[in-house]
């Protein structure tokens, strides 16, 4: 190694160090005027300051707080409780109340999760043990990665001109994992459920992608940050057909009723996940809710203007976060509501619906996308 090379290495190291330095984090920091004094105080501390700067660094904030891990967990706990509560209300019941009675049993999902932790995880004889145990954990990769691309106001994990395409591609990976889970389970009902999942996957994926493409055509870009910026009028008014398709395919993709076909507990006893128990069941059970969260975020970015909304000065950068969160939650509530309204369709009926009707309408939405792009002059 010659001297030049060593100096090159030094430069690289310095550059790396400057990337990891606090100053670098502070340049791109989430500003929250409401708690700025506290943040300043924390930043002045020796070690805590570095951590706070790291967390408040926008990409890290996107990964850890919103829309990433932290919010995902909170939403999971909340939406499972809320869904039960809403369903109970419609069904003349009261829903979970006993755990933390003062707050209407809001930590019920947490309690269930803890119970799962202490339950035995049974791996039955015929299962493919490594895959059976790996996949429920590996599935978090395609679940968490798309969150990095979703912009919440100015907070975005990774900015890329292809962010929408990448997010959709990653989301499409989730069913592959579910099929793998079903295969590893090696049981009769899991087999039937997996086949149903595969059928449904093909059925909803094409209208879903067509709806997304029609929105790309409409906005003339696949960069989600740009898409949000271009939405002076929310996308749902520009292309209601695509919004409808997107919503319906979201229902299918998250196997909510009336398309709860792959799981169908009365028919095939939770389908691909029939053999799971304990915390592994807890993990696979939340997959659909996680998927629901991403798709709701994606839908609010594409159709409801993402983080756009009246600016709240006190919250600073969190204003966009708040609006995106509110919109996504509204969509999730709507999805939860469907659960108590509909019966489950049969596989062939769902397939006919999506390959026939949805396909036709999604082609229409493509045309609307192109026309709207020209009409509103959104440009390329």
């Amino acid at each position: 190694m010659n001297v030049n090379g060593l100096s090159g290495l030094n430069e690289l190291l310095n550059e790396l160090l400057s990337l990891l330095s606090m100053q670098h984090f502070l340049q791109n920091q989430v500003s929250i005027p409401l708690i700025q004094p506290i943040i300043d105080l924390l930043l002045s501390m020796p070690f805590v300051g570095y951590l706070v700067a790291l967390i408040l660094w926008k990409p890290m904030f996107a990964l850890l707080i919103f829309p990433g891990l932290g919010t995902l967990m909170a939403v999971l706990l909340f939406i499972i409780w809320f869904e039960r509560k809403l369903t109970a209300r419609i069904q003349w019941r009261k829903g979970p109340v006993e755990i933390l009675r003062q707050a209407g049993g809001v930590i019920q999902a947490l309690a269930d999760g803890m119970r799962y932790f202490f339950q035995e995880v049974i791996v039955h004889r015929d299962a493919h043990k490594p895959y059976f145990l790996q996949f429920p954990i590996l599935i978090f990769i395609p679940v968490l990665l798309p969150l990095l691309f979703i912009p919440a106001g100015s907070i975005v994990g990774i900015e890329s001109p292809y962010s929408l395409a990448i997010a959709v591609a990653l989301i499409s990976l989730i069913p592959v994992f579910i099929v793998a889970i079903g295969w590893a389970s090696n049981s009769r009902y899991a087999y039937i459920g997996t086949i149903r999942e595969a059928f449904m996957y093909f059925a909803y994926e094409i209208p879903f992608i067509l709806a997304v493409i029609s929105m790309i055509l409409l906005y003339g870009t696949a960069d989600m940050v740009e898409i949000v910026e271009k939405q002076n009028i929310p996308g749902i008014f520009l292309n209601p057909v695509a919004a409808f398709i997107f919503f319906l395919t979201t229902v299918m993709a998250t196997s909510r009723l009336p398309f709860e076909i792959p799981e169908a507990d009365q028919e095939i006893a939770f389908g691909p996940f029939v053999e799971y128990s304990g915390i592994m069941f807890g993990l696979v059970m939340t997959i659909t809710y996680e998927k629901m969260y991403i798709l709701a975020l994606l839908m609010s970015v594409l159709f409801l203007g993402g983080g756009n909304g009246p600016d709240i000065p006190l919250l600073g950068n969190l204003s966009g976060v708040l609006w995106l969160f509110v919109k996504a939650m509204a969509i999730m509530v709507l999805l939860s509501f469907l659960r108590s309204i509909y019966a489950r369709l049969r596989l062939d009926q769902a397939l006919r619906l999506s390959w026939n009707t949805l396909m036709k309408i999604s082609l229409l939405s493509l045309a609307i996308g192109i026309v709207a792009n020209i009409a509103f002059g959104l440009g390329w």
Binding site: Q266, E267, A269, I341, A343, R344, D348
Partner: protein, 415 residues
């Protein structure tokens, strides 16, 4: 508690138990068929195993394996007094207590040649029709949950609550009323309870309207049930369907109209019939029966206004205790019924229970106070064959839809 150690060499079974002939299994696997054993521990099978031979997604053959909840009612009945069999026979059918007891009691009354007081007859009809509504709502709930419609499950179960409350106020027990006894009913029902029953019918009607919007006329439900599990008129007769399921295939046959018992011939009601014979019409017929039952209950309560309170147990059976026990059997139950002996012979009664024809046949040797033989054929057992035939050629997911549309209830069929 003393621990008992069993020193018996126990070998775990080396071969798997197969509820089907081995040849059937081999045949299925030689072709490209797939054998699925649904039940008995399965969320959508009830207490029965159904062996399905599936080609692709289509059921080629369905073989039932009933008997999982068999409780040998008939044999047990031979060891109990005639009167003790009343609580026994109402165990199989949840909610259908009124009809099930009525059938057994009517067979006994036929043997003893007892004329029931008119007031008791009307109250028996009220109890039977309350049970009918309760059972139909129960079945609607099961159908809904089989289709994944949880609201359709919870609402009928909530609507059963007023009915259960009414039965409690009449008899004192929520489900197993044991209220109908040979010669009448155990005690007279006070007027405020009858008024409660009448008001309950209006509540039911009101709440069933929103139930209709969310479940009965729900497009997804219609899609799931329409043209599924069709049994034509001829098939329905050949496979021996009974009750609402026979009527759904276009046969106008109701035992309450064919051989009127109690006071059914003096009340105004219609027999709902459908020609389609599919799962949806089987469901709709029962929904219509609920409104007919409501109308029957209202008429019966109105009729009761003109019959004075009091006598509800027949003098023929009370004999010497007639003047003290005719309004309330309290204190004389064993004295009247303990030594009850039926005359020699076989006595049969046919009753239109909620799910169809219910047959009781009591054989008496004429001298003992227990039946020599009691034969019970519940509607579930009658239509099991038709249920299995309806499955043939349908899709795997339709198993639950057809199951729910028949309201098949294994404890009732297995007895």
């Amino acid at each position: 508690m003393e621990e008992i150690v069993l020193d018996v060499p126990v070998q775990p079974p080396t071969e798997l138990f197969l509820p089907v002939p081995k040849k059937f299994l081999e045949d299925a696997y030689k072709g490209d068929d797939y054998l699925v054993l649904v039940g008995p521990q399965h969320p959508g099978s009830g207490h029965m195993r159904i062996i399905l031979r599936i080609k692709g997604d289509v059921i080629v053959e369905a073989i039932p394996d009933p008997g999982y909840v068999h409780r040998s009612m008939e044999k047990l009945a031979e060891t109990r007094l005639y009167i003790q069999n009343i609580p026994l026979f109402e165990r199989p059918a949840i909610m259908d207590t009124g009809n099930v007891t009525l059938g057994y009691v009517r067979a006994m009354e036929k043997a003893l040649d007892v004329e029931v007081p008119e007031r008791a007859k009307y109250i028996r009809v009220i109890l039977a029709e309350l049970s009918r509504i309760g059972t139909h709502l129960y079945d609607a709930g099961i159908l809904a949950v089989f289709l994944g419609h949880t609201t359709g499950f919870m609402w009928p179960f909530a609507l059963r609550e007023p009915i259960v409350e009414a039965i409690t106020r009449i008899s004192g027990a929520r489900i197993t009323s044991s209220f109908i006894i040979p010669g009448g009913i155990r005690r007279d029902v006070p007027w405020n309870v009858l008024e409660f029953v009448r008001k309950t019918t209006f509540v039911l009607e009101r709440r069933l309207k929103s139930f209709e919007k969310i479940f009965i006329k729900n497009p997804t439900v219609i899609e799931r049930l329409k043209e599924v599990g069709v049994l034509s008129r001829e098939e329905a007769i050949r496979f021996g369907l009974v009750g609402p399921f026979l009527r759904a295939s276009g046969v106008e046959y109701d035992l309450r109209a064919v051989e009127p018992y109690e006071v059914y011939d003096s009340l105004n009601w219609e027999i709902p019939v459908s020609d389609e014979g599919d799962s949806y019409s089987r469901f709709l017929v029962r929904v219509e029966e609920i409104s007919q039952s409501i109308s029957i209950i209202r008429q019966a309560v109105n009729e009761l206004r003109r019959i004075p309170e009091g006598k509800v147990i027949s003098e023929d059976i009370l004999q010497e205790y007639a003047e003290v026990a005719s309004a309330d059997i309290r204190g004389f139950f064993f004295r009247v019924f303990g030594e009850l002996t039926l005359p020699l012979g076989e006595f049969t009664s046919l009753t239109e229970a909620s799910r169809g024809t219910l047959l009781y046949s009591i054989i008496s040797d004429g001298e003992s106070n227990v039946p020599y033989r009691a034969r019970v054929i519940t509607p579930g057992w009658y239509y099991l064959k038709g249920f299995m035939e309806a499955l043939r050629g349908e899709r795997l997911a339709d198993l639950q839809a057809i199951y729910g549309s028949f309201g098949y209830f294994p404890p009732e069929a297995d007895r």
